[in-house]
């Protein structure tokens, strides 16, 4: 019955190759012919699935990322990124919206993802999996860690409570002191012609980040767009590279 179905044009048009994989080569082709599966290694060494070796931290990070993406999209149906509504919408989600626990899932998931990504990095370091030929994938991984932290940081502002506002005030004040790019940073005074400064409170990197000279509406909107669209878009590109390179670099590293 199943075999018959697999030989229909309907099935074959969707799953390239079609038919029941019989030989080793055909089983391999199933993986290589699927856009989702082809990111994975075709075959896994037995040790690679041992929890003791991988801790499954990379996989968990990806799983949590999916949870965050889904719960995040759901939250976007209720949350409005304006000073007037942002805080009350979070309260509304927590207290009135059915299954508003979605917000807690998103929040705790975000904490968990930061932890699992760090642990994943720790595991990769301790097993020496950053060594050639995997050195480039280590660099991609560091970028992913950086993007994860940025996602966490931008999401922090969105509830628009005192904790959020002051955390981002402090965080964006660091940008103020960036060399050459921040108006209070070293070298900023050098970028001037006569009395005209090019790096001022209204033109430095902090200004670009929060869309103004002070924390306000513009900062909230910028962080919202970065959190929901900009950063997820970039992190997904690097995640695809990261997973694909694991396969290309010879699968999960082997214990010595």
């Amino acid at each position: 019955m199943m075999d018959k179905f697999r030989n229909t044009q309907f099935y074959k048009s969707i799953f390239r190759g079609g038919g029941v994989p019989k030989s080793r080569r055909q089983r391999m082709m199933v993986v290589l012919n699927s856009v989702f599966l082809h990111l994975h290694p075709v075959r896994l060494p037995k040790h690679a699935v041992k929890l003791k070796f991988t801790w499954c931290m990379g996989g968990l990070s990806f799983f949590i990322f999916l949870v965050l993406t889904i719960s995040g999209i759901l939250l976007m149906f209720y949350y409005r990124p304006t000073i007037e509504y942002a805080y009350t919408d979070i309260i509304d989600l927590a207290e009135q919206v059915p299954f508003g626990i979605m917000r807690e899932i998103h929040r705790w998931g975000a904490h968990a993802m930061v932890i699992t990504v760090w642990l994943h990095m720790f595991r990769v370091f301790m097993t020496g999996s950053y060594k050639p030929p995997r050195e480039f994938n280590w660099v991609v991984g560091v970028l992913l860690l950086f993007l994860t932290l940025l996602l966490s940081f931008t999401g922090y502002l969105l509830p628009w409570d005192q904790l959020a506002i002051w955390a981002i005030t402090v965080g964006s004040n660091m940008a103020r002191a960036t060399p050459f790019l921040g108006h209070e940073g070293p070298g900023a005074a050098l970028l001037a012609i006569g009395d005209i400064n090019f790096v001022t409170m209204g033109s430095d990197v902090r200004f670009a980040l929060i869309g103004g000279r002070f924390m306000g509406e513009a900062a909230l909107l910028r962080f919202y767009v970065l959190h929901c669209v900009g950063l997820p878009f970039i992190i997904m590109i690097f995640m695809a590279i990261h997973f694909w390179r694991i396969r290309k670099d010879g699968g999960i590293s082997t214990p010595v």
């Binding site: 002051w166 005030t169 409170m201 033109s203 200004f207 670009a208 869309g211 103004g212 000279r213 002070f214 306000g216 509406e217 513009a218």
Partner: protein, 190 residues
Amino acid sequence: MAEIKNKESATKDPGRRPPAALSKTKTVEPITRRSFFSWLTIGWFAFAAATGAFFTMMLRFFFPNVLFEPVQTFRAGFPDDYTVGEVDLRWKDKYGVWIIRNEEGIYVLSTVCTHLGCTPNWLVSEQKFKCPCHGSGFYKSGINFEGPAPRPLERFKITLADDGQIIVDKTIKFQQEKGQWNDPEAILSV
């Protein structure tokens, strides 16, 4: 088309010249290796320039010309509106400043606690600013004397307009620990 036909005839009969009458209007110049590369170079430069211009646009896009922020410079009435020796609370909610007049003149204090940014209260009976969050205390001058606040309150620029009104500019601040309170714009002599 003419190019392809030339090729065909060339393979069929290497010695024969391509028939000139094949293209009705005018003959198409054959693409040489050299012209291909020069066009390719121009193409790449154009592409790079367009991409560069787009990224420049994108960068500039993040620096708006008009800001929808609270006004940072405002008129605070005439010097005579303020009594000597009193802390004036009328601008506290709207602009986040206290205007204080003493024998020397008028100065503007920021209502942002230098510890963690809460808003202290002016306690008339004790003649001090007291922060409700962690108990920092400041004298009327803005100097900190108790609690965790690490430095005095900040002062803002104060000047007189042509019509004799006080102008407060919050974009320019003066910090005591940097010795900026001696600046003529940090206090308005009346």
